[in-house]
């Protein structure tokens, strides 16, 4: 038996190797706003897993639910349906005290800086240190270090009304990071910043992720900082439409490019195809597809190995062995025929699958792309 997961292939959840602990686990989360007749669903069955030290960028049009999901992860909203684990704590049904305790391990950076007008930059940042009862010497050192890094070394003792919008935002960034949170949740942290300080902020994020294993989840439309993302989560209409680990996506694209019919696709189209793929797993001896069954899926082997077994009516024989990066199941889809062979997993294997409709559509695009090229070449000569 093979098992299909709710996660897309690009999420990279099923790749063997060093498995880092997950800091955030979202499982089947639904969320509703309003009461009675006005009740409307904002989130639909979302699944997401984020690892320690990962930088996740959430994108999507406004109203797509990314902010709702972010506030749920940040314990700022009550989980209504589904499971949401943050740093190992189940938030669904968590008590007020548990949540307040958990919040100390989180760092928030809001779009509005929300600094106390009565406190200096140093004192504002210090509010975060006092909560976790950081030693005074240590907090002072960290506050100075962060504010200096963010170009506010000269303005440590200025009050917010003596600072520009960008400077205030940078103080808020320092306040979100100063207590060494294990997860940072940020909403457009660089929107009010110029290129240079925006870069400094994301560099800080990267250092925290790499050196301290801090997980960073941010909502942003700032394309200048997309390069720091380890994972990009795209939301639409209250559902995660794409969850792409940047590394894993490029691996899939590389595999897909090996498939002759897809070789002409552009990287953009390949990424889209990768996003459409789902994950399936199989244990040794599991039959993945059976000869003469109708063909529904195209398979790419992410890890593991399979035997191709053909039954010619008299006896069965193993005609080939397929390994990581190879594919099967395309023939039945292209010719719209039943399966011409049985595939049996030789060991624990992970496959990325593409549905028949998506596969056919992609083939069509590849064809039209080829024609376009031919047209272009033809008209040039």
């Amino acid at each position: 038996m093979t098992a299909t997961s709710a996660f897309p292939a690009t999420s990279g959840m099923f790749v063997d190797g060093a498995q880092l602990p997950k800091t955030v686990k979202v499982g089947g989360v639904n969320h509703y706003f309003g009461e009675g007749e006005l009740r409307s669903q904002a989130l639909f069955d979302n699944h997401l897993e984020v690892r320690r030290g990962e930088i996740v960028i959430m994108t999507g049009p406004s109203g797509s639910g990314k902010t709702t999901l972010l506030t749920l992860i940040g314990t700022l909203r009550t989980v209504q349906e589904g499971s949401l684990k943050v740093l190992g704590n189940e938030l669904n049904g968590a008590s007020r005290d548990q949540i307040n305790k958990l919040r100390r391990d989180l760092g928030f950076i809001f779009q509005a800086h929300n600094l106390f007008g009565s406190l200096t930059a140093h004192q504002n940042v210090n509010m975060a240190c006092e909560l976790v009862e950081m030693e005074r010497k240590e907090s002072d050192r960290r506050i100075r270090m962060l504010l200096e890094r963010l170009g506010l070394g000269e303005r440590i003792n200025y009050k917010p009304d003596q600072l520009s919008g960008g400077q205030k935002q940078r103080v808020a960034v320092a306040r979100g990071l100063v207590h060494n949170p294990r997860i940072v949740l940020a909403d457009e942290p660089t929107a009010a910043l110029d290129e240079k300080s925006g870069r400094e902020v994301v560099t800080l994020f990267q250092e925290m992720a790499n050196d301290h294993g801090c997980t960073i989840i941010m909502v942003t439309h700032d394309s200048r900082i997309l390069d720091v993302a380890d994972r990009i989560v795209k939301m639409e209409g209250g559902k995660i439409k794409a969850d792409s680990a940047v590394q894993e996506t490029s691996v899939i694209c590389e595999f897909l490019r090996q498939f002759p019919l897809f070789s002409s696709l552009t990287p953009t189209t390949l990424t889209e195809v990768a996003d459409m793929m789902r994950v399936e797993t199989a244990e040794a001896g599991d039959v993945v597809i059976r000869q003469n069954d109708p063909g529904e899926l195209f398979y790419l082997i992410r890890t593991g190995a399979v035997d191709v077994v053909v039954d010619d009516g008299q006896k069965t024989r193993t005609v080939a062995e397929l390994k990581e990066g190879q594919y099967f199941g395309e023939a039945a889809l292209i010719r719209d025929e039943p399966r011409n062979a049985t595939i049996i997993a030789k060991e624990h294997s992970v496959f990325y699958t593409l549905g028949k409709a998506d596969f056919t559509r992609t083939l069509g695009r590849a064809a039209s792309f080829r024609e376009e090229i031919q047209q272009a070449l033809f008209s040039r000569s």
């Binding site: 902010t67 972010l70 506030t71 940040g74 700022l76 909203r77 007020r96 307040n100 305790k101 958990l102 919040r103 100390r104 989180l106 928030f108 809001f110 779009q111 509005a112 929300n114 600094l115 106390f116 007008g117 009565s118 406190l119 004192q123 210090n126 509010m127 975060a128 006092e130 909560l131 009050k159 909403d187 909502v219």
Partner: protein, 408 residues
Amino acid sequence: MNTPLAWKNLVHNKVRTAVALAGVAFAVILIFMQLGFKNAVRKTATQIYDALDFDLMLRSPEYLHLTDPGMFPKERIYQAESLPEVEIVRPLYLGLSEWQRPQSESIPDSGWEGQWRGIICMGADPNDPPFARPDIRRVAQQLTDPRFVAMDTKSKPEFGPANGRRFSSQDFGVETILGGGRVQIVGIFELGTGLACNGACLVSPEGYATACYWQPADQVNLGLARLAPGADPLETQERLQALLGAPDVNPVTPQTSATPADVEVLTRAEVIAREEFRWVEQTPLGKIFTFGVWVAMFVGVAIVYQVLSTDIANMMGEYATLKAMGYPNKFLTRVVLEQSVLLALIGYVPSLVISWILYQVVGAWSGMPMILTPTIAGAVLMLAVVMCVLSGLAALRKLFQADPADLF
């Protein structure tokens, strides 16, 4: 030391804080004045007693208040003196008489000349006046003729002082009519005229008989007993009451004692307490000022609530951020309540000074004994803190609505 957020917020929003402090001060001064008035009522009611020399008092069970004391037979005084514990019992005549405003040449015709005014008239034996205060004793000793009268300088100008303001040595020799006979002003004293009347005067017992000619000659109003050294006031009170008969509280039950129950014996503390109770609790006077305190509190709560809730509304985002960071509601509550208490304490100090000045001004102007006692100062401080904490608690509701989910 944590960041004193409450203090910083107050210092930062100077204008708003000034408005809040003005509000607190306004309410606190109002409370001060109301409590001062109430205390003045209490003091006024009893200040004549404070000037009298007695350990136990004999008076009629019909006694209502100082200016309506009722009367009892003079024999009771002699009867009471028969007890060895009693050193002496001195009568004090006390009643309302009528005073004709004397003609005055120094001030122009005000239309009052010759008019009659109700006045408290006290009659005391000039040979041994029952006053504790030596200055009043001296004046009373001068009233050796039934026609001599001494005026309380706290009497209002409507009684016709020569200078138009208050009786002074200028009035010595002035003649007018008190009750049923002519009198001549020969002395002044300062005591205070009570709440039922605007003026007071002192005469000899014979002078009193003329001034309050409707009172039978064998009746007195108060008997002031001084005890022999070492005598216990409570025991003596009991023995005296037994001797003179139980007061006729229930006329249906026949009296068992030999003498009719026309005298009640009270200790000094009882006299003061009953007089205060009469004026503060049984007349509207005390109630008005108690009510005034509540009104002042309400005004104060409204002002401080307004300021605090505006403050919170302006900092919703900041407070919500603190919540998101993991600060519990308890912390936010403490910040707001600290702010409230600071407002109360800071607002209290100038109010205390201003109220002290107002007490002097109002006291001098009205003749009421306005005294800023430590009890009043303490009570007002407590009320100010309660007032501000109540406002803070009301404003907190808003704070609890701060939803960090709105920040994203």
